[in-house]
Each structure stands twice: as C-alpha cells, then as structure tokens.
C-alpha cells in the first residue's frame, strides 16, 4: 500500500516537463527555443590540470538588442560558439547567432557585457576571452549593433581587442564625461607556489593585469597606470562590482581576487584616479573571492556588497575540503607578506555611515553556499526587500583533501609527469561539487532565509554566470544561468500579479543612452529603497539594464528620486504601480552629494594628542592554539588592565595601564590639562605578569591610594609567580608589594566593595581559566579587608560559581540594604548572589549560558528599577547555540594520554558534529588517525560517531545556549533575558560605560567590543562600531557618533574628567588607546 502511494507520488512529480519551485519554475530551455549548451571538451592538453579556470564557465547577458521592449539573451561559450536569442514574446526565442555575426572567433570565451558603446541607442556586446595560454587564440570581441539584428565585430577599431587573460568586463562612466568607459578584469595564471609580497601588484603585466579603459571619442585608451589601477601578476580577478560605494557621485570599483591576493576597493577620487582603500574600510574579506553583487539590503540608502567564496554548508563537503589557513600561516601572510585578513566564506558587507563595512554574512545566514560563482540581489518575491540568488557548482572539487593527500600521488602523479595525459579515471576520483543553487529571502533586518528547497528546486547543475531580466514581461524578475556541460537554466518567476512593482527604463541621452550609473531612491510607506544602474553584476554577466522595485501590497509609491550620472536629479511623484516607466531627464536640478553625508555634529571627537595618554598595548607572540590546540578561543589576550584613580594623591585621577608579558605596567598621572607618564619602580620591576584587571583605592585607609592588579595571560602555568595577583600598598610616595592569598590561575576581574559595611573595601576576584586546563573550574573568591590585610572570606562558596568568570558587579539587586554580587562568565549563566547576612546564595536561577564578557547596571526600560546590560559573543559567528541545541564543550582525556582535551560540538540538522577538522583533532589526539585514515571516513562523523557513548557520557560537558548580547529586564525583582537587536550582535561586546554622553541630562550606556582571539576558521569578529544605548528602542551606532572602534578590540571604556571637561578613554588589546572629547559636555562642577 505504502509502496503504491510512493509510486503515485513519484508519478505526480514526474508529470509536466521542466521543474517547479514555489516561486520559480524551470521550463525546458529547448521548449523556449534555447538550445545553447556550454559543452567543455577536455583534451590531452586542456583540462583542469592545464588551465586552472577550466570550470569557470561562460557568460550571459540579458538586454533588448532590437528595441522591441522584449529582453533578448546572449550566451558566451567557453569552447562552443556564442549564441544570441531574440525574444519573440510569449516566451519564444529565436536563435539568430549566425546571421547576427556574434558567434565569435576566440578559442576560450569568458564574461560578457552589454552596453551601448557608441551611444546610438542600440546595445552592443563585449565578449572577453582568455588568449595566449594553452594554445588559446583570438581576442576580446566587441560586437557593434547595426540596428538590424546584425552586428559588426569592431574591437580593434575601438581599441578593445585585448589578447590577454580576461575573465570579465563592466561598462561604467568613471570620469562622468558622458560616455561609457570599461573596466577589464584579467586573471593570473602563474602557480601559487609562493605568495610573493603584496607589492607584486604594483608591477604591471599585460596578460594578467586588470585594465581601466577610458573612452576618448570612441577609442578606448588604457589609463590604468595613471588612474592607480593595479596590474600585477598575482591578481586572480574573478569578481567585479561597480557602485558609487561612498556616494560622492563617482562610480567606484570592487574587484574580487581569488587565492592570496587581496581584493581591491577602488574609490574614485573624481579626478580620473582611484585609491585602493580596502584595508581602510574592510576589516577582512573573502579569500577565494569569486562573484559579487551590490544592493542596498537594509534600506538606508547606502550600497551594500556581497563577495562569494566556497565554504560548504554540507558537513561532509566541509570536513573533506581544504579550508582556512592555520593561524601561523595567516600571521605570516599578513605580517611578512603584507596581505589583508582573508577567510574562506562568503562575506556580506553592510555599508556604514563612516565608510566602514560591517561584515555580517554569518549572522545574515549567507556565509556558506559552497562553490559559489554568481550572486544576484533582486526583489524576487516583490515584497520590498532584496532577496539573493547564488549560482554554484563545480564538476570536480580540486580541494578535496583525500585527493590532495592520498589519491593524487598514487593515481595521477606518474601520468601527469610522464605523459601529460590526464587520466580521466583519476579525475573521477575527485568528488563532484554539483551543489544546488541557493536562493534566500531577504528580511528587513539584514538576515536572509534560505528558500532553496521552496522557491526553486534543488538542482545538481554546475551553474555559473547568471543574468536577471523580465523575460515574460510580467513585472517580476526572471533569471538565466549559464551551466557547464548542459543547457542553461531559465528561472521563470511565477508570482503572476502577487506583489506590486515598478520597472524603470532610463533614457539619459548623449553617449550614455541607458543612463549607466543612475541612482534611484524610491519612497513608500516611510520606507526607502535605493538602486543604481550598473548592469554588469554577479559573475561574467550583465543583466537587463533596467531598475526594478518591488512593493509588496503597498498601494502607492510616494516618489522616486532619480539622480542622473551628471549629478542632476528629478523627482517623479506618485508614479502608478505595476508599469514600465521610461524616464528621461526632465526639469532636473543639480544634486548635492554632500547632503548625503551631512551627519549631525559628532558627540565624540578624537583628541589629536590623546591628552598625553600615549599608551599602546602590545600583545605578545604567544598563541594559545599552539599549546591548547582544541580550545574554542584564546584566553591569553584579555589584557590590558586599566584603572582610573588618584594614585599620586593630588586630587586628580590618574590612569594605570597593566603590563603584558615582558612589557611593564605604565602609570600616567593627571596634570593640569594632560596626563604624563610616571615611572614607578615597583611596577617596572614586575614586567612578567600579564595584567587583566586593576582597582585603585585606599585599601589600608592610610590616606593614600593603593592598587590591586589581577594577573592572567593564559601562558604561565603551574605555580608560576606570574599568575599571582598583586597588591601594591602606597606609603609616602612609594609602593610596596603585599601578599594576597595565593591562587595560581588566570584571573579576570577585580571589583572592590565594602560588602560587610565595616568601612573598608573588600574585594571580589574572578577566576577565568587554568592554563592548559580550559573549561576546568577555577576559583573566584571574596577577600575580606582587615586593616589593609586581605584574607579569604568564607561566606562565599567558591563552588557556587562554576564557569569562567569574566566580569562582576556589586549591587543591591534585591534592595534589601546589603550588597549583593552578580557574576558573569563564559559557559555559564549570569549568577545573582544574594548577600544574606554575609552569606552569598544564588537566587534567580537564570538559564542563559553564554560567553558573557561584560555587565553594567542600567535602567534601559526607564521603569525606575535597575536592569543589567550584558555583553555576549554575539550571533555573527560560526558558533551556534540555542536552548534546544546548545553549543557543547566536552572535556575529558579522550585518548587516555594523561592530557585533557576540549572538543567543541555544534548542532547541524539535529545532530552534533565536532567543530574541528580531522587535522585539528589529530593534532591533539593522534590516535584518531588510526580510526580515520581518510578524510572521507571522518567527514560527516557526529560526536557519537567520534566517541562511544560511554566516553561522551563520562566527559564533563559545558554548554552555551545564548550567544546574543542583551539585558536582564527587572520585572519586580524577577529578571528575564531580552536580546538586543541585530546591530548589537555583530561582534562580542567587551565593555560598557555609563554616562551622559549627549548632554541631555539623562544617563546612557556606551558599549564597545570586537574580539580577534579565534582561529582563521572563525574569521575576525571586528565589525562592531560601538553603540550608544539610550533605551530599549534607541541605539545609535558609534560610526554615527564619531567613534573609531571598528576593527579594534575594546577592553575598557572609561569616562575621564580633566580640567573640567569630560572625555572618553577607550583601551584596546594590541592597539593604541584613544581619548575622545565629549563634544556636548563640559563637566558640571
């Protein structure tokens, strides 16, 4: 019976030709009259072994070449002839390739772009080619449209007949002189044996170097050198995105480079030159950069960018493919060779007001789409939010680890060397990467929902270049992909009237007939949508040169603001929906781009001379992962310590910065209007300790300030003196060290408070980790002050803590008049310890196990009671945790070698997998190499497959179920965790400080963060710009306030009062401290 149902169901699925997703159907292309197939023919001299980009595929362009208002399709074939299909309406296409004369003569065609090069109102077609290697002949061809469905190849006439290694090209008017210029993207072919230094890019090479070609009256002139465009031999250019990224009216260029060469972010200086500003504005980029696309995904009027890479989502592919560098190789590439931070995953860059990009691919859900070629943003479901289509797939995965390490040597080595003959059988041993294309639904909050199995059917095709257009003229967006060894895929959007739209045809006139570079701002329902017309998008493709907006159920568009390439603009008021609107410049007035950058006066202004606080923290070369190879993140980089207090007893507060290994602590004393460095012998002699936290107070009540400093660093172990916390007592003006109870561990925080109300300050000291014992319990304790001597307080049960404490505050949270204590830490829930007649007892019983970093008391909901803001790891991370599926850390001596291992496990599709790769795990547990002799045998192994149940059961397990930062909302003394919005989840929040920063008489909290102590697989948590938290609803990011926190890792924030002015001090790990003047505030006496 069951079987019958299955059969019937199966038959049902087979009914109808082509395939059907909820949103897109894939008709059989031949039914539409499209017979093109990009067939690759391998030969003795040509395969993936001879040409590294053998599988990159051809190109595709969509545009109306005969001006009949029906978009036509052009395909370039790698080895096969190009094809041009005329849209005859009703989804019928006619092959006019031969009569049109566009079949082409090059041996290996790549990307293609349509553009009206000569400004005659007809779209011309440019086709790139790889020429000069592997016997490839020909040149890049320019097919000039004769206006009668025929074309004349005229590349030489126009100066565009390059015979180099071209992968793609894009038309743009970079100098705003009214005609179309061209950016030509070329790729390198030299072996990647040695990185070479970054400066290879300065030395031009004709074959491999990119070119900027200026259109001088129909003749294209190579101006690359003078324009500041790199042209070296190590740029494997695959991605090309044009946009006015910095919104100054001049188009800018983003180039995505494969392998180790950095991507380029060319900002147009407006004088014919460009400045590569990648390192200034991007904290990190994709590593094996492939296609890219630009769209404003969050409706803030700024163009955002995605750059694709090849991180697999599938666990098996993930664990059997070569991934990121190890941390030392990465350091070498960055410090010795001068490259930027690059990681193997898609990167989504959200354009910020200060020009920086917040990279959010992980939290946005688009980081891992496997071997990805083309990205195209578009409002596919017409709901007013940008969705995302990603085409991918490769016939063979050359980065398969078994192939690299085991199969290749035995199977093909001899053949390659001796006969140069590619053994097809050996190539067959590489696994296929025929991953399905992805489509994501865009949400309003910069997250995307994977709709791959709903909106489209999951395919097994190798799709590359993709173009977008409205093929059937029904107002929604259709897609065409050029596939390897198969027919193209036609994705026909089946919305049919669900959702309103507008399609704009821009007719700018002059030589730039289609208005390339025009910007359109659309306003409806108080929402902004922003688009630019740059048809070359995605990968080796150009889309229909129209602007398309979706509006969902909205009934009215208030207005469209069209800014033409000549910086003039016009407004179209309340255009009727669901039509094609042809717009020409009419009653235009000049547009002032500066108006886009008029920020309110910043609250924070950097003090150019830092008030004399010339302090740069230097982290030492110690790498936790070399010793504790499996820990999920570092513990050695939590310094420096900082304390603010009047150490020289002159009525002005001074600043103590703790030392790091071999770098002594430093004291800056406050003078009349600046600070100056003061040498203190006692501090200088103790240069070994790595200080994490410090407190200045008169602990022995002799009228002079003393100092407590906690030590950590994750490097010293056993009973090393460098692990002991320090207590410096001031007598006269000298400091002498006094003993504290001995605890040999990495301490985190020290907080002083007179909890017993006896008039002197007692201490809480938090324990973070035991070196080489990550996850094992440390001791946190209270030290009771008796006349300046500290002793262990026994009303505090150390076992109560459990977890790795990072921060604490003293506060009477139950308002019973006695000081309570709140502790937070990693792999633990916030602990409310109630002081009951001197005994601390846990209350609240919160279940929010996080990687908590910081806490501050603040009435965020303005209801009169105290809430607590909590800084956590954030959600923009490879870590994954929920109540249902917590992230787990297993602790045990798994291989019985006397050494405890930590194994982090993450859930995927309901199962737990080790976070680490096989190489990672075996670097600590070599015995696993006996069990997993291939990567294939390991890939997809769950935790239960890795270790027997008994082993896992007896291991100690730590959990995290909350990664979001947020706050504990006080509801009549009961605390409930409420996560912050997405803006505050892009990176760990490391510290908070309270104050009235905007001069409105109310208190706000300023948050700072970012953290870099993770392996390259995790990337770099660098995108948090800081934020001013006024209330639950009102959060203003630091990049709108004048703060320069992005790409830096905060450890401490403190408000300073100097000479009756207020300042903000920001202290970073391994960077220079910053002092900001609070613009709105002078200190009220």
């Amino acid at each position: 019976m069951n079987r019958l149902i299955t059969i019937i169901f199966g038959l049902l699925l087979l009914v109808g030709c082509g395939k059907q997703g909820d949103l897109f159907k894939n008709p059989d292309p031949s039914d539409l009259g499209i017979t093109f197939t990009n067939t690759l023919t391998e030969s003795e001299n040509l395969s993936i072994l001879d040409y590294l980009y053998f599988y990159n595929g051809g190109g595709v362009s969509i545009g109306d070449i005969n001006n009949d208002d029906l978009p036509d399709i052009f395909f370039s074939g790698n080895q096969v002839k190009n094809k041009l299909y005329i849209n005859k309406g009703d989804l019928r296409f006619e092959d006019i390739s031969q009569s049109a004369g566009i079949e082409g003569n090059s041996s290996w065609n790549t990307g293609t772009a349509m553009g009206d090069v000569n400004g005659d109102g007809f779209l011309d077609i440019y086709v790139c080619a790889v020429v000069g290697i592997n016997g490839f002949g020909g040149y890049n061809e320019l097919f000039i449209n004769n206006g009668d469905n025929t074309f004349t190849e005229s590349a030489q006439t126009y100066g565009l007949d390059f015979d180099s290694y071209s992968s793609n090209a894009a038309f743009l008017d970079y100098d705003l002189d009214g005609d179309l210029d061209l950016y030509l993207l070329n790729h390198a072919v030299h072996t990647q044996n040695s990185y070479g230094k970054y400066d290879l890019r300065y030395e031009r090479n004709y074959q491999t170097g990119d070119k900027l070609l200026r259109n001088d009256n129909g003749k294209f002139v190579d101006v690359s050198e003078e324009a500041g465009i790199y042209g070296g031999i190590n740029a494997y250019g695959l991605g090309l995105a044009i946009s006015d990224f910095n919104l100054d009216g001049y188009p800018d260029i983003y180039v995505g480079n494969d392998f180790h060469e950095d991507d380029y972010y060319y900002l147009n200086n407006g004088d014919g030159t460009f400045t590569d500003s990648l390192k200034t504005y991007f904290g990190h980029t994709s590593r094996f950069s492939m296609g890219s696309d630009v769209a404003d995904i969050n409706g803030d009027g700024r163009p955002d960018l995605i750059s694709l890479d090849m991180l697999p989502e599938d666990e098996v592919a993930l664990k059997s493919s070569e991934g990121d560098d190890n941390i030392q190789t990465q350091k070498l590439r960055i410090k010795q060779y001068g490259y930027h931070y690059q990681f193997t995953r898609n990167m989504l860059y959200v354009n910020q007001p200060d020009g920086n990009y917040a990279e959010t691919a992980l939290m946005s859900g688009v980081a891992a789409t496997d071997w990805s070629w083309s990205a195209l943003f578009g409002d596919y479901n017409l709901d007013g939010h940008q969705d995302l289509f990603i085409a991918n797939g490769i016939p063979k995965r050359p980065n398969d680890l078994d192939f690299i390490k085991f199969v290749s040597n035995e199977q093909i080595q001899q053949k390659i060397d001796n006969t140069k003959l590619v053994d097809q059988e050996a190539l067959e041993l590489m696994p296929s990467g025929n991953v399905h294309n992805y489509i994501f639904e865009g949400n309003p909050d910069i997250t995307f929902k994977d709709r791959s199995s709903q909106w489209i059917t999951k395919d097994t095709l190798m799709s590359g270049a993709t173009a977008m257009g409205d093929l059937d003229g029904d107002g929604d967006l259709d897609l065409v992909t050029n596939n390897i060894n198969g027919s193209p895929s036609i994705y026909l959007n089946t919305l049919d009237g669900d959702g309103n739209y507008l399609k704009l045809k821009l007719r700018f006139g002059g030589k730039n007939t289609y208005g390339i570079g025009t910007k359109v701002y659309s306003y409806h329902d108080g929402k902004l949508q922003f688009k630019e017309l740059f048809p070359s998008r995605g990968f080796q493709a150009s889309s229909e040169p129209v602007i398309h907006f979706g509006y969902g159920a909205a009934q009215q568009v208030d207005s469209l603001k069209i800014i033409w390439p000549d910086k003039s603009f016009q407004i179209v008021k309340t255009p009727a929906l669901n039509q094609i609107l042809t717009i020409e410049p009419k009653n235009t007035i000049p547009f002032d781009y500066k108006a886009l950058h008029q920020a309110p006066e910043p609250l924070f202004v950097l003090e150019p001379r830092n008030l004399g606080l010339d302090f740069t923290h230097q982290e030492d070369n110690y790498t936790d992962f070399n010793r504790e190879k499996l820990i999920p993140y570092q513990v050695s980089d939590r310094g420096p310590a900082m304390a603010y207090g009047d150490l020289d007893n002159d009525g002005k507060k001074d600043i103590f910065f703790g030392g790091s290994k071999f770098v002594p602590a430093q004291l800056f004393v406050q003078k009349d209007s600046v600070f100056s460095r003061k040498h203190i012998n006692t501090f200088a002699t103790d240069s070994l300790k790595e200080n994490i936290s410090a407190q200045i107070a008169d602990f022995n009540q002799n009228g002079k300030m003393d100092l407590i400093v906690t030590s950590g660093g994750g490097d010293f172990f056993g009973k090393s003196d460098a692990l002991l916390d320090s207590y410096y007592v001031q007598n006269d003006s000298t400091f002498t060290e006094q003993t504290l109870p001995e605890f040999f561990q990495n301490s985190s925080v020290v907080k002083a408070n007179d909890f017993d109300g006896d008039g002197d300050l007692d201490l809480f000291i938090g324990g973070h980790t035991l070196t080489s014992g990550f996850g094992n319990p440390t001791q946190s304790f209270i030290l009771e002050n008796e006349k300046g001597i500290f002793s262990l307080y026994d009303g505090f049960d150390q076992d109560n803590v459990g977890g790795m404490v990072t921060d604490a505050i003293w506060d009477d949270f139950d308002k019973d008049g006695s000081m309570d204590l709140i502790l937070i830490g990693e792999w633990m829930s916030p602990k409310f310890l109630k002081n009951e007649n001197g005994v601390f007892k846990e209350v609240q019983g919160l279940d929010a196990k996080g990687l908590w970093q910081s806490i501050i008391a603040f009435d965020i909901d303005a209801d009169g009671d105290t809430d607590y803001l909590l800084g956590n790891w954030g959600t923009n991370t490879k870590f994954k945790a929920s109540q249902e599926f917590p992230m787990k850390l297993y602790l045990d001596d798994f291989d019985s070698n006397g050494q405890t291992e930590t194994i982090t496990a993450l859930e995927k599709n309901g199962k737990y997998y080790p976070l680490e790769t096989l190489d990672g795990l075996t670097s600590q547990m070599v015995s696993l190499k006996k069990r997993f002799t291939t990567y294939e045998s390991f890939a997809g192994t769950t935790m239960e497959g890795l270790f027997p149940k008994e082993t896992l059961d007896k291991a100690k397990v730590l959990e995290v179920n909350t990664l979001s930062s947020g706050y504990l909302q006080n509801n009549n003394g009961i605390f409930t965790f409420v996560p912050f919005g997405m803006d505050l989840q892009v990176a760990p929040i490391m510290d908070f400080v309270e104050g009235d920063f905007d001069g409105d008489g109310k208190t706000e909290v300023l948050a700072g963060g970012n953290y870099f102590g993770v392996k390259p697989y995790h990337g770099r948590l660098d995108s948090f710009p800081g934020a001013l938290i006024r209330s639950e609803e009102e959060v203003i990011l630091g990049n709108e306030l004048g703060l320069d926190f992005t790409k830096k890792s905060i450890r401490h924030l403190e408000t300073l009062s100097v000479n009756n002015r207020k300042y903000l001090l920001a202290v970073f790990n391994d960077d220079r401290a910053q002092v900001y003047k609070l613009n709105k505030l002078t200190l009220k006496p």
Partner: protein, 441 residues
C-alpha cells in the same frame, strides 16, 4: 540440542585440524625485505615525517632481532645495550617455535601498530598467515603467539619513549621578529614539524645533545660575512646548475636524494602531493641492497636492518635537537628576501629549521653502521628510488653515498654548506658511537 551440535562441530574441527599438513615453514631473507618494503609503502601513503618514520623502522626491527638473538648464539640481545630495554619473555619450554617466523610476525605486527592505515598491513599479513597456517598450523600458531608476545613486550618498552607525550606538546611558534629565525616556506607554509623530537628517548646515545654540533656561522646578511657567503653560495650553485639544465649531474644528485615524503604541487587548479620515501627509508633501502648482495642469511639481514635503523633513529634525535636549538632560517626565505624574489630551490624546502642537514646527519650515521656490518669499499648499485621515477646510481662505498647525499642538499638549494659539512660529521661521530657501543655479534 544446541550444545550437542556445538560439541559435534568442535570434534569435527579437531579432526580436520589433525588432518592438516605439517610441512616446514621456511622463511627467507626476502620475506623480511618484503615486510620492510610493505611498511615503507604504507608510511608513504600515511605521510610520516622523517623523524617519525625513523622510529617506525627501528622498533619492529628490534622486536624481530631480539627473537632471533634468543635462538642464535652468534648474536647478542640488545637488552641492557639500548636504553631501558629489558629481556624479552622466553617462549614456553615445549613450544614448537620457528624463530624466523616469529621474528617476521613480530616485525609485521609491530609495524602495523605503528602506522595509521592498518588495513593495508593487515591484508598483507592475513594472506601470509593463511599460507603458513595451511602449511603447518601448529608451528604457525606457536610462532605467532610468541611473536606477538615479544611485540607486546617491545611495545610496552616503546611506549615509554615519550612519543605519546610529544604528540600533545605545543606546536612550534614562529617568531617572525628575529630575522635569523626559521619561518615556514613555500608553497605549503607548513608549521615546523616535530619541535619536541629531542625529547624522544634515544636508543644508544646518552642524550639528544650528546653530539651537539658546532653552531652555524653567526647570522648576518652583511655582504662579506661568513653567513652571507653561505647564502650566496647556495644561490650561485643553484643558478649554475639550473643553467646546465635538468640533465646536469648536480640536479640529478639533488633529485636522487630528495627523499621528501610530502612535496605539495599545484597544477592548474589542482593541488596534490608527490610523495617519496624519507632519508631514513632510503638508507633502509640500501641496507636491503647490501644484504642481498652479500647473500646474508635471515638473521644477518635482520641484524643489519636493526643496527642501521637504530643509528638512523638516534641520528634524527640528535639532528632535531640541533634544528630547534639553532632554529635557523632556510636559504629560500633569505634569498627571496635579499637576493632574488623569484628564486625557487631545485627541491622543495622541507618544513623545519635548516641546521644541521637531516639527510647529512642520517646518511653519515647510516653509512658508518653499514660499513661496520658489510665492510668498507662496498660497491653497490642504488636502485632504491626507481619506484619514484629516479634512476640507479652507483657508489663505491657507503661513505661515498653519504657524502653525495649530504652535498645533494646544497644542490637542492635547501641547505647551506655548514649544515652539510657539520651535519655529516655529526652523523659519523654519532654512528661511530652507536657501533662502538652496540655489541650485537
């Protein structure tokens, strides 16, 4: 009923086993060579670094040798002669043991325990076991039982050599601030391998530092300094010999002695590894050639392998001690930075510090051991590298071969002269100490 059936089955089995043949099992030196070749082959597959490979060669040989020494008065046990090693257990008094068979089984089984891909050895082992079992099950079983017993004994001794502990010790930390320090090299930029190999218990030498070589010339990139001259010499030699072409004698020598277990290659979009035997394995191969050429009997063959592999293992411990002491930068890094940024060495630079040359030390030590066993001026045709597409080379003595192996590292562009000259001396001194202190026959 079930029980009865079981009993019947047992009886039938017993009858059938009684009916089995009782032919003598003869073991030839070739069987031992095959076993050594097999483990070499698996080591190549599994990718063991040269120091680790030397350990995998040594312990199985010791297990085999000890069994033979027990049944042969001409040879003396290593008990008391190598560190912390005690007498192997004696076989049961009435056991019908074929000592050669036991030795071979011990060798195979120890080898299986040391490599990763056990299946590959097991398949080989099983086919032999079946054959022997068919010939004479009783002798086979007794010999096997004893062989395994000795392997267990050797393993428990081996397990105290600190190898397991070194697996969990810290990875090597690159210090890129000091220009003289070793840095990872192209194309794979692998981390420095086995930084703690000097903590492995040696066999004969009293400590890893016993043959501590003189330090390399002081680091200086001042033209005219001794160190700079050595860097320049590597570059000049390389230029000179590559100009002569791939067919030149020097390039042929470099490639013949490459012995790099993992050379990573990029071709088109493909990355793969070409794998070869290690320096130690090459000298194990020469041991085979010499044993065959002298028609050595089974015991002498095992003796030769054992002594040579012990010398090689200690040589690696001594050499690695110096490598991570001097922690010297490779010529490739310096030449690329100071002389010619596009220069590539003839051989791929292996992933560990430069001084002293591992191949020089190991070849020096192995040649002394082999000379001790087979005599000086022992001419031989070295066909060890044929499976890796390299030709046969002819040598008049082990010493001559070792000298060539040493200088090959300069032709290969991966070592300075001091590492080669001092290295080969370090190896010879160590080799002499090993043969002087081992009283095996």
């Amino acid at each position: 009923m079930k029980e009865r059936f079981g009993l019947l089955l047992l009886v039938m089995l017993l009858i059938s086993s009684c009916a089995k043949k009782e032919e003598p099992i003869t073991i030839s030196p070739e069987d031992y060579h095959n076993s050594v070749d097999k483990v070499t082959e698996v080591m190549i597959h599994d990718i063991f670094s040269p120091p680790v490979a030397s350990r995998i060669f040594a312990y199985p040989n010791v297990a085999a040798y000890e069994i033979l020494a027990l049944g042969n008065e001409e040879y003396h046990s290593l008990s008391g002669q190598v560190r912390e090693f005690s007498d192997i257990p004696k076989p049961a008094p009435n056991a019908t043991i074929n000592y050669e068979l036991s030795a071979l089984i011990a060798h195979m089984d120890m080898s299986r325990r040391l490599i990763f891909s056990e299946d590959k050895i097991k398949t080989y082992q099983d086919s032999l076991y079946t054959m022997w079992s068919e010939k004479n099950e009783a002798v086979f079983l007794a010999s096997k039982e004893y062989g395994i017993q000795v392997a267990d004994h050797v393993e428990s001794w081996m397990n105290k050599d600190n190898y397991k502990q070194t697996r969990t010790m810290p990875k090597f930390t690159v210090n890129s601030d000091d220009p003289s320090r070793w840095q990872p090299t192209p194309p794979a930029y692998m981390s420095g391998i086995e930084p703690h190999w000097n903590k492995i218990r040696p066999f004969v030498i009293d400590s890893a530092g016993q043959f501590k070589p003189t330090p390399p010339p002081p680091f200086s990139m001042e033209e005219g300094s001794d160190f700079y001259k050595e860097v320049k010499e590597v570059y000049d030699i390389s230029k000179e010999i590559t100009a002569k072409g791939d067919e030149s004698e020097e390039v042929a020598i470099a490639q013949f002695w490459d012995c790099n277990p993992y050379v990573s290659v990029t071709r088109g979009h493909l990355m793969f590894a070409t794998k070869k035997i290690t320096p130690g394995a090459h000298w194990i191969g020469i041991t085979k050639i010499a044993s065959r050429k002298t028609d050595s009997d089974f015991t002498k063959t095992v003796y030769a392998y054992t002594k040579t592999s012990i010398a090689i293992a200690d040589a690696f411990i001594s050499c690695w001690d110096e490598k991570y002491r001097s922690n010297l930068i490779r010529p490739e890094t310096l030449i690329n930075e100071h002389i010619d940024d596009s220069w590539e060495p003839v051989l791929q630079t292996p992933p560990f510090p430069e001084y002293t040359s591992g191949h020089s030390v190991v070849s020096g030590a192995a040649a002394v051991a082999l000379t001790d066993i087979f005599g000086d001026n022992f001419a031989f045709d070295d066909d060890t590298e044929i499976p890796y597409g390299l030709p046969v080379r002819t040598f008049n003595s082990f010493k001559e071969a070792a000298d060539e192996a040493a200088i090959s590292r300069m032709y290969g562009g991966i070592h300075y002269r001091a590492a080669v000259d001092v290295g080969v001396k370090q190896g010879r001194d160590l080799g002499k100490f090993v043969v002087d202190n081992l009283n095996m026959n």
